[in-house]
Each structure stands twice: as structure tokens, then as C-alpha cells.
Symmetry: C3
Subunit: 354 residues, 3 copies
């Protein structure tokens, strides 16, 4: 039986028993993606329905409504066995917190930024797979407004070195949080940046309305703020849940506006049909680069069949139509899509939660 | 007590309890290896009896004889604490499957190729340590036929991106499986290749007979197939178990044929004596390189003393005699063995399964 | 419930149940460090009170007072989610052992060297954070005597490839051990070196007295021994525990002598006040480099408030005064401290053991 240690003392000393939870997801699928001008690729991929991962978390009751909590989470490219975050092994989550039932939670470490939390919530595809909302965001596009962040370490999803305050759960439906990161005099390549983010929402019964805003500065943004704002909401009619979200990136003289509309329909006791439509509209310039002619739109369709609460089969379809010289793509295809061309893909797989 | 989570929901929500098993092996030994022309090396090594590793696995009963399964396994160079697979952290296994008691198992991810499964089964040294059968395979030799695969990512042991079908267990002794990988338009260095493999065997009572065949293509093989075939069998007389295996690699105008003969003798209730003899015979050319003059033979001797079902002490000896310009070596020696020279080594250590 | 496997057999076979413990620490703090000439840095850091880590350990009773044991431990930079040991994932500990209650323990793998074990024991700051004793050691200083080891892989804390004998616990207060590593013909960059170390102490009631000595050779020391010796003791008066330690590094014609004085005062039932003072005195030359003019001294102050046995809040302060051209620094500041300048820092955070 796996037990859990509770002192720094030398190994094999007497340990205070405790609780830690080891959890994860293994999700693998076959995928086919065709990109205009460069043909198609068939592959086995990881994380079509939910990112494959392994994590640990725990909570200690300190009495008086106070608890200490932690979480470590590691993404896995399960088709090859490689860590999804490269050298950042615990790339998904690494934090410790003190949480009070009445006063809220103070959390230190690596965690989701407020805008991401507020964005992924309204995507029926959870930001992953051929139809995930991330396909139309700067993070998955080399070029235009994305160039403000150069390579991968950015704050569109998570932030290192974050200090967060999260509202307690008992505010009658009001929810939200505040996140700051100090910059540490470092570089974007090292995951260091100045960040200020906040999120505020109201969730009750069938309704959710929520807004979030982040500002990031690093040496790549040249002390200018990269601004990211979202307003979104959903209503659950029972036979269908409808989501709508508006997101705006603002950097120097450029703007990108994404609009997301989505619907989730229960099909019998075990099925779920998902539809999403997203449009990206760019305007202006990033320094000397005109980014206006890079619009696009994505249609996503998906079906999930739950074999149990933990295991599901799924299939998804997505098509991206690019305007002008835009090169938004469904992930997993050959590189080199014709500028302004189209990209489409399908995938089908199994997702197992453990 | 370590419990296990069962939903994608936000952390700290209510979790469906489940089961996951954390398991592993720690195996460390002192080794001495002498190579002709370059002297000897004494070292502490990892995995003389079984590769040091850490893994997680689980199975969920979905009802009706169906289950969802997964496994993640990570190799450890326990003498230094470094992952054995380098950047491929979960280098040993990373898969999810749906398994039916009556129809068999469909498995997606990284796993052993059919030929390796069929080869290691007949090696009393489990392909590791000074006397492992891998010493006489292309994977452990820089040169000859091995050059078809260039550096490490190859399919002599495992394949990325594999889709597998495995026969169910209730076929009266018949066992086997089929594995395919699509290539994904990628490179051998990224672990991408086209693979087709199959295995079929019959195991009952004291007898095992089994065959396996793999074909691999990648950009290093230049669209030519690297072919790997094995026929093997064993018979357990009680006082001794005898193994025999024949393996053939075939690439362009070259061939390598390995013959393995082995015996395992129980010694009292806790001991096991192991003997193996392997001969490698190369012929032909790989492109412009003549590989025929690279034959060699290995003799392995080992003794394992079980302190419990989980913990054993062991000692092994191996000697490789090279012909022509062959440079097969016992692992752990100094590099630069004289072409055609000999290599021998001994090791003794402890293997602990947890 | 997490259970544990006990045979090498194929997955999903029947497993002997066993016990493994998953444990760890998450420690995050806000830190401010100011270095003369280069200003200040504010950051979120990992491990101000204890290094953030994740580990596994287990013990199997083999009967007759004998047991098999193992431990794997991985350091985490919890502010960013990156492994603290870089490519050496299990950078903190990786060993297996056979332990006898009466004869002692034979341990193989990566572990703390005798001098480190004997040094950290007398540091109230456990060698980490702004006030850790490591700030005044060659390992954390680019320059002087430290250059004998060039970059990080060194034996001031741990050794790869170690064979250790540890005295049993029942010797009436006498404790100690012996460690050897063979060198393996390798390089310091690969963590290979010749090492001989020993530790001997007496601990009973309020008294501890202990000495340790290590010698290391690698290709960077040019076959000369880098020598590291410590004599230390502590006495617990109840209202205060006093520690004193003397450490001497000796390499070629150079010497570094560190003297550490420390006190730990309980404050009520849950608090602990910590004070340490350390002085480093260098003399002589390393090859052509005069290192004598590199002395310095550090004052550390800390307070720990325990919310439970597992969770604590803490705050620490440290100031380093350098003499001559010395550049000892509090960790986490900007690089480029003025030679002979001062460095100081404060930090406050939460440490949670799981």
C-alpha cells in the first residue's frame, strides 16, 4: 500500500502518515491532417480529447478552515513517451498554497494564467485535438502577433514564478483571482516575465458569465505590454449548452480578436456531441510587420462516447479556412501550408483517466 | 494512503477512487570489463540482472469482459540517477488499450516490437548485463548492418506511434500480435518510421515455440526495408530448461544471422544457473560497405541467488571472441577495442523489485 | 488504493503486494537579494527552507534482521516546474542496499558524500535558502579553489557510482560510514571521479561530535587529490542548541578553511529561531592563480513557524561581507557583484512536506 511521508528526517525514520493522490490521463488517437499544398499526414498522436499527463496532489487540514495544498503535473507525449514540456518536466503545474475556507487561497508557483482559465472553460474541445480553440491563437501560429513572444515560453497558457490570490468558494457564485509575476530580471526563454492578471466571474445554476485580463512584459516585448482580454458566458438549456466567448490580444499597433461560439449536446446517457466555430480577425502592425491580412476561421465537430466515468472513445473533425496570407493549421499536419490555404483533420481515439 | 483520481475536473473536486500501481526495479552491480588493446574498466553499473526502472500501470473494469488499461515505464541509470532514455523519459513503455477477454486487446502508443518480445523471452539474461543477448545485435554495435539505423532511435526493441492488436489469452496456447506504425512523414532521429510486425506462438506445458517478423523503413534505410525475423523454442525438462533461437537481419545486400543456445538450471530452492552461447554471422554489403568480415561469438555464464521473490544477488561472466574486423563488446569497457579482438567481463550485484 | 508490484513478470500478472512510499516537499518563497554594484532582484524561488523534491523509497524485510532497501529522489525548481538536476532527473538520490541490523548496510548508487552529511547536519538552514552554509563553499562560487572542479558535477554534496558501507545503529552512539567510487575512466562532466570518503561520530543525549573526510580525483584535478575535511559538534541545552563546525578544503598549494557557529532556539511550541555565522579563509594558489585574497563572512538569521508537523511558514535574512576580491553571494541576485562587495537578501515562504 502506498503511504506517504511526513518529515524531512533521514530516510526510514518514523513518518507521519499522510495522503497524496497520484493521478493522470492517457489519451491516444489516430489522426489524419491535410494541408493545402503539402499533402496529408497520418499519425498516432497523444491527447486528442485531453492532454496525456501524470500528476500528484495533496491537501493537509491545518484546522480552523485552513489547509496546505500542492500540485505537480507533467504532460506526456504518450505516442513517444517524451515529456510534453521538454526540459520543464513539471510543465503543467507546480505550486503550493495555503487555503482558507473563508478568506481564499494564496498560491505560489507555476499555474494557469487567468485568461487561459477563462478561455478553456468555454471550449468544448478543452484547447486540444484537431478542433481545439488553441489552433486559432497566436501560440500555435508562427508569425503575426505571436512574434511578440518569439518561441514557446509565453503566458498564453501558464506562468512561472506566479503569486496568486484566489477567491473562496462561498461567495454566492462570485469567483475569481489575481496573479502577479515579478519578472526577476530574466528572459522569456527562461520563462521569466512581468505579469499581471485577473479573473472575475459569476456562476450559478445554468448561467456562467466571466471575464479575465492579463498583461505581460518581457525582453521580447521591449517593455511594451502584451494585453490579453476575454469576456465569455454560457447557458445550459439541458438539451444543449451554448457557449460564447470574445478574446482580444493587443500589442503595439496590432490587435487580434477571436470570437468563439460553441454548443454541447448530450446524446443519450453516455454520448456528447460538440460543435464549435471560431473566427480570428487581425489588424494593424507589429513593429514593421503588417499582420492585418491574416484572418481565418475554424469549424470543429466532435463526438465523445463514455464507456465509464474514466474511459471514453472519441472522434473529432476540424476545418480551418485561412484568408489573405494566414497559415492557421490543424495540428499534426505537414509544415508549409500554402499562405491563405486551408487545413483540415480528423482523429479518433481513446481517453483513459486514472 | 495513496489514492487515485478519476475525473478531469478541477483539482480538489470529488474524485472517483480507482487503482494505479507504482512499481519498479533497482539493480546495481560492480562490473569489470577488459577489451583487447584498450585495457580494463571497473565501474558501478545499473541493471546487470534487470534494467532499473520506475513505472505506473492500471486497469479499469468496463464490464462485459472489457477493460481499459495503461502503462508508463521509465528506465533509470541508477548509478548516476539519470534517465536511461535521455529526453524520452518514458522510454520503456507508454500506451493505453482496450482489452476484451474474448476478442483481444487494441493497444496504442510506445511498446516492444514483436521480434524483441520473441527474442528476450529466450535469453536467460533478459537482454541486459555483461552476458545479455543484445551484445551481439546490431543495436549495440557501431558499424556493419547497424548503420542502417544510424543512432539510437530504432525498432530493434521498441516502436513509437504503434497500433497493436494482441490475441486474447484463451486460445488454447496460441498467442501473438500484430503491430503497425505509420511513419508520420518523420525521421528516425525523432523515432518515426514505418513498421509492420507480427508474432505468433504456441505455449503449453513445457513447450514454447514462437516466431516473429518485423519490417522497418525510415529515411535512413532509403525506403528499403530493414527485415528482422526470429524462430525460437524452449523445452523445460524440470532439471534444466533449454532454449534455442534463430534470428535473421536482412538489409539491402547484407544479412546477419544470430543463433542462440541457452540453458537454465535450478540450483536448490533459491538458486538459478544460466548458460548462453550466441554466434553472429554477417555476410554481404550495406551499400558500399562490406560487412561480411564481422562475425563473432559470445559465451555467457550467470548465477542468481534469490533472497526473496523480489530481491536477488547475482553474478555473471561473459566473453566475446571477434573474428575478422568485428568489434562486438561486453558493455561497460573502454572504447576502441582492437578490430577482431576479444572482450570479456564479470559483474556482481543486487536486484530489488518494488 | 495504490499498491505495489513485486515481480518482473508481464504486466497484469499476479503481483506480490509490497510497500513503497511516495514522498516529497514543496517549498516556495518570495526573495529579495541586493548585490553591490548590480542592484537588486525580486523573485519567486523554490526551496528556501528545504529543497522542493519528489521521492520514492521502500524496504523489504528479508528475515534474520536483513532487509533490502532503495530510494529515488528528484529535486524540483518548483517556481518553474523544471528538474533541479537538469538531465540528472534523480539527482538527489538513487540507490539500493542490503541492510543488516547487526552488521550494517551495503549501499550502491548515488548518495551524499560523508563530508556533506556531516556538514549539513550542523547548519540550521540545511544548506539552502539565502542563509544556507553552501553560500560560502567552493560549490557556489565561481572562482578560487572551486575551479578545481570546473562546472557543477562535483563531490561536495553527492557522488555517482558510489559503494558505501554504513555502520549499524546499535553501536551505543557510534555512527559512521565509508564511501568509495572507482572513477570508471571517466570525466567530471559525466559525474565520474575517484572518491574515498569516511565519517565517524558519536551521538548520545544532548551531545554530537563527528568528523568526516573525502578525497576526490578526476581529470580536472589532474590526478591531484581535492581534500575535504570536517570536524564538528553540537550541544543541546534545551533553551538553545549550539553548533560548531570546522571545514578545510585542500588542493594543490591552496587551502580554504570555513568556520561555522550556529544556534537554534525554540520559541514557544511552534516556533524556531535560527542564527548562523560562517567565515571563509582562503590561502595559497591553485596552479597559477592566487586565491588568498578571497575571504568572506556570512551572517544568517531565520524564523520558522510550524503550522503542523508538515507545513511551516518561514522567513530568513542573510548578509555576506566579502574581503579582497571575494565574490561570495546570497543566491538569487543579479550576477556581477563588485569584487569585495557585499550581498544581502531576505525571503519568506511556505514549506509543505507530503
Amino acid at each position: 500500500m502506498l503511504s506517504l511521508a511526513g518529515t524531512i528526517a533521514t530516510p526510514m525514520a518514523a513518518w507521519a502518515q499522510s495522503s497524496v493522490t497520484v493521478y493522470g490521463i492517457m489519451d491516444l488517437a489516430a489522426r489524419y491532417v491535410a494541408n493545402d499544398g503539402v499533402g496529408s499526414v497520418t499519425s498516432l498522436i497523444s491527447g486528442g480529447n485531453a492532454t496525456s499527463r501524470l500528476g500528484l496532489r495533496g491537501s493537509e487540514d491545518l484546522g480552523g478552515g485552513l489547509s496546505a495544498r500542492f500540485q505537480l503535473e507533467h504532460g506526456i507525449s504518450a505516442d513517444t513517451g517524451t515529456p510534453a514540456g521538454g526540459n520543464t518536466f513539471w510543465d503543467r503545474l507546480a505550486w503550493v498554497s495555503l487555503a482558507s475556507n473563508s478568506l481564499g487561497e494564496l498560491r505560489l508557483g507555476r499555474d494557469y494564467v487567468p485568461t487561459y482559465t477563462n478561455w478553456v472553460r468555454f471550449d468544448p474541445f478543452s484547447n486540444v485535438g484537431v478542433a481545439g480553440v488553441g489552433n486559432m491563437l497566436p501560440a500555435s501560429q508562427v508569425g503575426p502577433i505571436r512574434s511578440a513572444f518569439a518561441s514557446n515560453p509565453n503566458t498564453l497558457v501558464r506562468s512561472n514564478n506566479a503569486v496568486q490570490y484566489l477567491l473562496p468558494a462561498n461567495l454566492g457564485g462570485i469567483e475569481g483571482g489575481l496573479m502577479v509575476a515579478a519578472g526577476e530580471g530574466g528572459t522569456a526563454a527562461n520563462g521569466q516575465h512581468k505579469l499581471l492578471g485577473l479573473r472575475l466571474g459569476y456562476a450559478t445554476g445554468a448561467w456562467v458569465v466571466s471575464g479575465a485580463y492579463d498583461e505581460t512584459k518581457n525582453e521580447l516585448t521591449g517593455n511594451e505590454s502584451f494585453k490579453d482580454g476575454i469576456i465569455a458566458g454560457s447557458y445550459d438549456f439541458g438539451v444543449v449548452k451554448l457557449n460564447a466567448a470574445w478574446r482580444r490580444f493587443d500589442f503595439l499597433d496590432s490587435k487580434q480578436t477571436n470570437i468563439l461560439l460553441a454548443a454541447i449536446l448530450p446524446v443519450g446517457a453516455a454520448g456528447q456531441l460538440k460543435v464549435s466555430y471560431q473566427k480570428a480577425d487581425l489588424s494593424g502592425r507589429v513593429r514593421t510587420t503588417n499582420v492585418a491580412d491574416n484572418d481565418g476561421a475554424q469549424l470543429g465537430l466532435g463526438y465523445v462516447h463514455n464507456l465509464s466515468k474514466r474511459t471514453a472513445l472519441y472522434a473529432s473533425y476540424s476545418r480551418i479556412n485561412n484568408d489573405g496570407v494566414a497559415t492557421f493549421v490543424v495540428p499534426g499536419g505537414a509544415s508549409g501550408l500554402t499562405a491563405g490555404g486551408n487545413s483540415w483533420g480528423v482523429e479518433s481515439g481513446v481517453r483513459h483517466i486514472f
